[in-house]
Amino acid sequence: MENKDIYDDISSIKTIMERSAKFISLSGLSGVLAGIYALIGSFIAYKIIPIYIFPQLFAYYATGKEMTLGMSYDTDFNYITVLIVIAIVVLLLSISTGILFSIRKAKHKGQKVWNESSRALLKNGLLPLLAGGCFVVILLMQHYYGIIAPACLIFYGLGLAAASKYTYGDVKWLGLSEIILGLICMLLPLYGLLFWALGFGVLHILYGAIMYYKYDRGNRAA
């Protein structure tokens, strides 16, 4: 056994173990873009919905439906519909950007996007996300609008934390940050939109940029 052979053996063990168990085609840049979509979405929501509506919409959480005080079911229905449409557009844009950038990065590295590690990533992340999705739909049906923003943040954070074992470790910290932000948001239901913008906008940009500089910049495969 030559000296060089030993070091080659060890480094090949290390890279193969990492590559086999972790999905490393996740792109930091797509995280930044997802964050920008979320910020734009929040800003549009903030502009469309008159500021005085927020306490009326979200105060349900504190006091129940009786709080509507003069606001008709139609108004609350319309504004909530606007918020849902914006959220869904942001979600779809973010997911497609994420997939597109991952395909690009995988191609650049000569790897497949749909492999053991991406399957494991989805399998583990999807359960908290699906549970959270159902939970949020039920909240909508029951008009508990005030807890929707924190519920989104907390379940998204749980999904990230669960999936993080199969990709970069930074994703775990993003997940934990989302959960903490969600819990704080729970205490301040009137600021749901602000926390939503912080969690899905600012945090994505922050962690996306960190991941971009850490993993992508060197090999030009954003």
């Binding site: 000296n3 030993i6 053996d9 193969i16 173990m17 086999s20 492999n115």
Partner: protein
Amino acid sequence: MGIGLHNFDKAFENRIRLQIMSVLVANESYDFNSLKDLLAVTDGNLASHLKALEKEEYISVSKSFLGRKPNTRYKASEKGIAAFKKHLEALEDLIKQQKR
């Protein structure tokens, strides 16, 4: 540097076999095609190395069908994991000796 050498596992002398074992130790199980993509080797090459590891009882094989496609999954056995660890320790010993 005679001491560490006898701990070296002949089965892991080949780089591909060492890599296969690394994948199976890091993951619960792995299928043939994913291994092939990951290690960038040909079908025949991979199959012969897998056979060799199977013969040593370092890995176990399970065959099933996904729809109509055959799906062969490999798993590291306890014996295989122990052998892999021993091999790593031998590598470590060698490095330590050379640093001295």
